[in-house]
């Protein structure tokens, strides 16, 4: 059987800073060129520093297969998607795609703020590669799917961000590609619309389309794909069934930095060296019942003492929804000077989260400056409950008191 996507030894090389940062004006390029002419020797010029965002990546995806691409930040997932969608050209290797390709790296790029919803449907549709007649035929379906209604003739700059994204996704969703390349776009809009998008993707899947999803979102990868490709440092670290792949990924992401973390914000004189989850009695475990208490133990190493630190611990659901944060600052917990090595333990109240997968992340901030000393993704845990489906019950559930009047 022929492959929908075949990727052979592709690599992508980028030129790193000095060149990119300092040579962005013509004057620098000219003076560089003159210097090069005068000195004629290659060592006179600073060596151009290059790095490979992707290297020797090969895989094949069959028609109708759905594959998740996972990896930590900067591993090369987005680069891979850019190469597959022809936005950027590979430095080495070959890619062969069979069928109409629809690539959604970001929903709504190409929308023009001054134009109405109606005009933008035609604009965005054409940008995505749909013909005029095709857009006209699907116009009513697009409007209905987006739930925009009467606002269709209002300039999109007057739209709420939710409406904007819904309209953009609706256009994209009607592209009907043979191969769909998706980058995190399912994580847009409100929960109801997200669900609608998922339903749509399932339907596309059922119709035999080949789907490639790049995501941090283990939840969508798990529900959509049987196979994952795990990209690590620009190469394929794992390619196979989803469960085993996610396990390796989770092991690797333990003690990695969260996506919002910027290393230049901090010096390296404070490090979180471990995060573990145990139950109230101190037994290590990863599956908790709804209503159970949990202890989160963090180990640290501080080269310089931190006074008045603000330690916080957050729970993030598998679909990247930030659920709650415990904070020493908000809880007015007395924090001693943090120095040397030691542990910090948080005992949570009974967990009221609905049944799903969650991730713990820890951050330590210096009070006053409010700079981040360190932030790490910690362990993952699962909350069990027979009925508390997050689709129906949302993020948390607590008992209410009901009264019936007549």
């Amino acid at each position: 059987m022929s492959m929908a996507i075949s990727v052979q030894d592709i690599g992508k090389q980028y030129w790193r800073a000095p060149r990119a940062a300092h040579q962005n004006s013509l004057r620098d390029a000219l003076s560089e060129g003159v210097r090069g002419l005068l000195s004629r020797r290659s060592e006179a010029r600073p060596a151009r520093e290059s790095f490979w965002a992707l290297r020797d990546v090969s895989f094949g995806i069959k028609h109708g297969e759905n594959v998740g691409i996972i990896g930590l930040n900067g591993a090369g997932k987005s680069t891979l998607l850019k190469l597959l969608s022809r936005i950027a050209a590979p430095t080495t290797g070959r890619i062969r795609l069979e069928g109409r390709v629809g690539a959604l790296l970001e929903v709504g790029t190409g929308f023009h703020r001054e134009l109405t919803g109606r005009e933008n449907i035609f604009l965005y549709g054409s940008i995505l590669g749909m013909g005029r007649q095709e857009i006209a035929d699907k116009f009513d379906a697009i409007v209905a799917f987006s739930e925009i209604g009467d606002f269709i003739d209002t300039p999109v700059k007057r739209y709420s961000s939710g409406m904007y994204v819904r309209l953009a996704f609706s256009v994209a969703a009607h592209l009907e590609p043979d191969i769909l390349l998706l980058d995190e776009v399912l994580a847009v809009g409100d929960y109801a619309f997200q669900r609608k998008c998922m339903d749509f993707a399932h339907r596309l899947q059922a119709s035999g389309a080949t789907i490639l999803i790049v995501s941090h979102n283990m939840f969508s990868v798990k529900t959509m794909c049987k196979r994952v490709i795990y990209i690590k440092n620009g190469t394929v670290a794992y390619d196979g069934p989803v469960d085993a792949g996610l396990k390796i990924y989770e092991q690797d992401s333990y003690l990695s930095h969260p996506s919002w973390y910027r290393p230049e914000q901090s010096s390296q004189d404070f490090r979180i060296t471990g995060v573990e989850i145990v139950d109230a009695a101190g037994e290590g475990k990863t599956v908790f019942s709804h209503g159970e208490r949990m202890r989160i133990r963090m180990r640290y190493a501080a080269d310089l003492p931190i006074h008045d630190a603000n330690v916080s611990c957050s729970f993030t659901r598998a679909d990247e929804t930030h659920c709650c944060t415990f904070s020493t600052l908000l809880d007015a917990a007395p924090v001693p000077v943090i120095t040397g090595t030691g542990t910090i333990e948080l005992l949570t109240p009974p967990l009221r989260l609905t049944a799903d997968d969650y991730r713990v992340s820890i951050s330590v901030r210096r009070k006053g400056f409010d700079t981040i000393a360190d932030a790490k993704i910690g362990a993952r845990f699962h909350v069990q409950h027979p009925d508390l489906d997050p689709y129906i019950f949302g993020i948390f559930h607590e008992e209410g008191h009901w009264t019936f009047g007549r």
């Binding site: 109708g64 050209a89 795609l97 035609f122 209905a144 009907e176 339907r203 689709y391």
Partner: protein, 298 residues
């Protein structure tokens, strides 16, 4: 609760996915590989995206004067006031010779074509950078952008030309059959503008200096072209050098088409047409060499 969830479920007709996919052997195949050919012009790919070209042109037209009180009047106002100022300063104060034509018509005919050229170059040299978001996130033949921005100012050109013709009626000058020459002149001007933009656009992606140089360059180019004066005032000994500016022949030809009078210099016309072809072809080669790295550097 359950009812509201049911309402979210979609019928197949609602999302337009009713049929199963066709036989894989009939599908369109896309091959991607590093490309080091000197000349590779993907006309088929460009043709597939002709709808996008159309939509981008329409978008430029719709957006340009939206939320302005005077709307498309701006297309008239700008050249009209330019001609007015030129007429007062160069026509009345400096009394520049015009080979007999009323100064307003003399300058106006040149301003109409020049404004088109300057707008086309300005918009399309900056076009790639203005669409940086698109280039970073979506694939389409990048050539669509300079093409759209060279075509869209033609509408302003048409409006300005209509005003010009009205102005001629006011002065009692009636254009003759030479007016048809305006069409090939406009086409060669558009080719020249596209050729210039195909060079400047990719350079602008890499070096934003172009953005700062361009207004200055356009202004100098304007004074180096016979717009406020006739090329007959240029000393005969350097006339050949002067005619190396490809806009000289085009403006003379356009003025001849609209107002009649002295036919344009054959050498100047040859230079214009040659320059337009050379810049266009070399620009296309340069552009397709550069476009593969746009998303990486923009």
């Amino acid at each position: 609760m359950m009812k509201s969830l049911d309402a979210l479920a979609l019928g197949p007709s609602e999302c337009g996915l009713t049929e199963q996919r066709g036989d894989p052997s009939t599908l369109r195949v896309t091959e991607i590989a590093p490309d080091d050919r000197i000349i590779a012009f993907d006309a088929v790919g460009l043709w597939q995206y002709r709808g996008l070209l159309r939509v981008l042109i329409l978008r430029d037209l719709k957006v340009l004067y939206r939320q302005t009180a005077l709307g498309a009047c701006w297309a008239i106002a700008q050249p009209l006031f330019t001609v007015l100022i030129f007429t007062v300063i160069f026509g009345h104060f400096a009394k520049i010779p015009t080979d007999g034509a009323p100064y307003a018509l003399f300058a106006g005919s040149a301003v109409v074509l020049w404004t088109y050229f300057a707008e086309a170059v300005r918009r399309s040299a900056n076009g790639l950078v203005a669409e940086a978001e698109l280039i970073r996130k979506i694939y389409f033949p990048r050539l669509v952008i300079p093409l759209a921005t060279v075509i869209s100012p033609m509408v302003d050109f048409a409006i300005a030309l209509a005003v010009m013709l009205a102005l001629m009626v006011w002065y009692g000058v009636v254009p003759d059959w030479h007016l048809v020459l305006a069409v090939p002149t406009l086409i060669v001007t558009a080719m020249l503008a596209l050729g210039v933009s195909l060079w400047l656009g990719p350079i602008n992606v890499r070096f934003r200096d172009v953005k700062h140089t361009l207004p200055f360059l356009i202004q100098i180019w304007m004074y180096a072209s016979p717009i406020v004066y006739a090329s007959s005032i240029v000393p005969a000994s350097v006339r050949w050098l002067y005619a190396l500016n490809p806009m000289v022949g085009l403006i003379e030809a356009f003025r001849f088409a609209v107002l009649g009078g002295t036919p344009p210099d054959a050498f100047a016309i040859t230079v214009s047409v040659t320059a337009a072809f050379v810049l266009l072809v070399s620009g296309l080669i340069f552009f397709q060499r550069m476009e593969r790295s746009f998303a990486d550097v923009i």
